[in-house]
């Protein structure tokens, strides 16, 4: 009965559900095409770089759950990411580096760290939350930095076993750019879907509620600390999954991965990409790491460039580069309706 079948070509006549499924298919196809393109053109180094962008972008995405939807600006987010990276790197030495095991270790570490941090920071909000998460992050950093026997201290850890994937009958080594890139594409996509389903689920809506109307939410009977804790744990799990792959792409994990400047860097990426937009996390991390890698090969002043880009973003496009550019070119007038 559809309009395609009777050949009238009247697109508007199509049922909405069918149109949407077509749109989703088109989007997925486009996404697959976009994900596959680098495989054709990029070398091993670039693919590893893209994998790093996707992995850090995933961690930034998890931060967006807190900042964008909960209004909780954490300066201790690197603890989940870096903690999981260390846990995976240390576990790989005894368990072997199977990707499923690594992800499980990372997610568990991230969630446990988030739970622990939540117990400490959940009583407070706003600036107090910022400072407490910072203090907790600094404590973890100090421990990582001084616990030489396990974490390697200031030198960090190197020389991990090769990341592998058991498929039942064969074990595929994931040690080249292509494999690592594909693994991080899958990770990023899964994290995006997880974050989106969290956000669209009642818990995500409740989290938004705690940000917008805290008093009304508690009057309705919601336990605000519990909602925030759940968001923190979910976010920690996603960050942990990203952290688990990080050592294998970078072939190194050092104390900087848990330092608060890493948390601050994630916030910068998030803001450049757009707070509250989910996909903005990846754009932000691509811009930041792109500047870091390519500008630093021309000049030592790359931090100045990053700082300027960041400050200009905050001043001119507080909603991030994508939303800012959209507004600047006046396209997609319906954008306001879709948060």
């Amino acid at each position: 009965m559809s309009s395609i079948a009777d050949g009238t070509g009247r697109v508007e006549a199509r049922p909405a559900s069918q149109r949407r499924s077509l749109l989703v298919t088109a989007k997925l196809a486009l996404l697959a095409l976009a994900a596959a393109t680098p495989l054709l053109f990029a070398g091993d180094y670039q693919l590893r770089f893209l994998a790093e962008i996707l992995i850090i972008g995933t961690a930034v995405l998890s931060l967006d759950l807190l900042v964008g939807f909960g209004g909780l600006v954490s300066l201790g987010h690197a603890v989940f990411f870096g903690g999981a990276a260390y846990a995976a790197a240390i576990a790989a030495q005894t368990l072997g580096a199977d990707i499923v095991v690594m992800l499980a270790v990372g997610i568990a570490t991230g969630m446990a760290a988030a739970l622990l941090m939540g117990v400490v920071v959940m009583r407070t909000i706003a600036l107090f939350f910022l400072i407490l998460s910072l203090i907790v992050g600094q404590i973890v950093w100090e421990v990582v930095f001084h616990w030489r026997e396990v974490t390697g201290g200031a030198d960090g850890l190197r020389g991990f076993p090769v990341l592998t994937l058991h498929t039942g009958f064969a074990t595929i080594p994931l040690n080249n750019g292509v494999a690592l890139y594909l693994a991080s594409v899958v990770l990023a996509l899964a994290a995006y879907l997880a974050a989106r389903s969290f956000f669209t689920a009642p818990i995500g809506r409740a989290l938004l509620g705690t940000r917008e109307r805290q008093l009304r939410m508690s009057a309705l009977g919601y336990s605000i600390p519990r909602i925030r804790l759940m968001a923190l744990v979910a976010s920690g799990g996603i960050a942990g999954a990203a952290g688990a792959l990080y050592p294998f792409v970078n072939q190194y994990v050092g104390p900087n991965a848990v330092h608060w400047t890493m948390s601050a860097m994630m916030i910068i990426m998030l803001v450049i990409g757009g707070v509250g937009s989910l996909y903005g996390a990846f754009i932000g991390s691509a811009i930041y790491l792109g500047i870091q890698t390519y500008v630093s090969s021309y000049t030592d002043r790359w931090q100045l460039v990053v700082g300027l880009v960041f400050v200009l973003t905050v001043m001119i496009m507080p909603k991030g580069v994508v939303a800012g550019l959209k507004a600047a070119f006046g396209r997609r007038k319906d954008a306001e309706g879709r948060s």
């Binding site: 900042v67 209004g71 600006v73 400490v120 009583r123 407070t124 706003a126 600036l127 107090f128 910022l130 400072i131 407490l132 910072l134 203090i135 907790v136 600094q138 404590i139 100090e142 421990v143 001084h146 608060w260 400047t261 601050a264 916030i267 910068i268 803001v271 030592d300 002043r301 931090q303 100045l304 990053v306 700082g307 300027l308 960041f310 400050v311 905050v314 001043m315 507080p318």
Partner: protein
């Protein structure tokens, strides 16, 4: 006994630096409701100015006023351009803006002053030690304690006991009302920010004698100052003093007793404090900022 007396004085001198830096930060936060994360940059700028001034052979005591002026000038310029538009925005936007600016300044200072550690040449008059219960104690640290205490007292007096302080506090409570009285609140806010930046600069110049000056010092100091201000309780002068003393003593004595994990212990104490008292040491009174 003598050992602990000297360590207490050490802690006190460090607390004074924390107090001066924290006061600069808290004046702006409490009076203008503006989170200024470039405060650490003011501190580092003051430290660099101090190092270069003390090495230049000019009258040494001028180093501190000069550091005040240099950082105050930087504060004045910043207030003029980006800060002013952000007073009405959320804390998050202020944190983002000022953190971005501090990244820029950190890199500019690394460019201008180099990346190596610069130690200040302590002036002739303040070199040497005094003996306290047979233990040597550097005169310079005594100077920091005295100078810092005097400065903090002066600041408290101005804000709490004079008509200027009353005007600034009135601006926070009801800005429109103060405008109606014919006072230019924009000027007042500029003055507060300049004084705050100057305080950061002067504590940097003072601290250069014991902490030196190097890239990254700005962040370390900023974090400690933020902890002091927040743990003290927003909006209270007393709380800032108390938590500066607490953090100074915690950091110094944990370094004596558990040198390996000194910072962990000191930070854990502050974290425990904030968990136990989520509003800070001294909870804010009715004054809603």
């Amino acid at each position: 006994m003598g050992f602990y007396a000297v360590q207490s004085l050490n802690a006190l001198s460090f607390s004074m630096l924390l107090l001066l830096t924290g006061l600069g930060l808290s004046v702006v936060l409490n009076l203008m409701n503006f989170v200024n994360l470039t405060h650490g940059s003011f501190f580092l700028l003051g430290a660099y100015v101090g190092v270069y001034w003390l090495a230049s052979g000019a009258p040494w005591w001028l180093a501190f006023p000069v550091a005040f002026v240099a950082a105050g000038l930087a504060g004045f310029l910043l207030e003029r351009f980006p800060f002013r538009q952000f007073y009405a925005r959320t804390h998050l936007m202020q944190v983002l803006l000022t953190y971005g600016l501090s990244v820029i300044f950190a890199d500019l200072m690394r460019w201008g002053f180099g990346a190596q550690i610069l130690s200040a040449e302590i002036p002739e008059a303040l070199r040497g030690v005094v003996f306290i219960m047979d233990m040597p104690f550097p005169i310079y640290r005594l100077f920091i304690i005295g100078f810092g205490a005097a400065l903090a007292f002066a600041l408290w007096f101005v804000i709490d006991r004079t008509i200027w302080g009353a005007v600034v506090r009135a601006c926070v409570t009801d800005r429109g009302f103060v405008e109606t009285l014919g006072l230019d609140t924009r000027r007042i806010f500029t003055a507060v920010l300049v004084i705050s930046a100057g305080l950061g600069g002067i504590s940097g110049a003072l601290g250069a004698g014991i902490l030196s000056a190097y890239p990254g010092l700005d962040e370390e100091v900023l974090i400690l100052a933020l902890i002091v201000v927040v743990a003290g309780g927003l909006g209270t002068f007393r709380g800032t003093v108390l938590s500066a003393l607490l953090l100074g003593f915690a950091m110094t004595f944990s370094k004596v007793w558990v040198p390996e994990f000194s910072n962990v212990v000191a930070l854990a104490i502050m974290a425990a404090l904030l968990v136990a008292l989520p509003e800070g040491l001294v909870a804010r009174k009715v004054r809603q900022v």
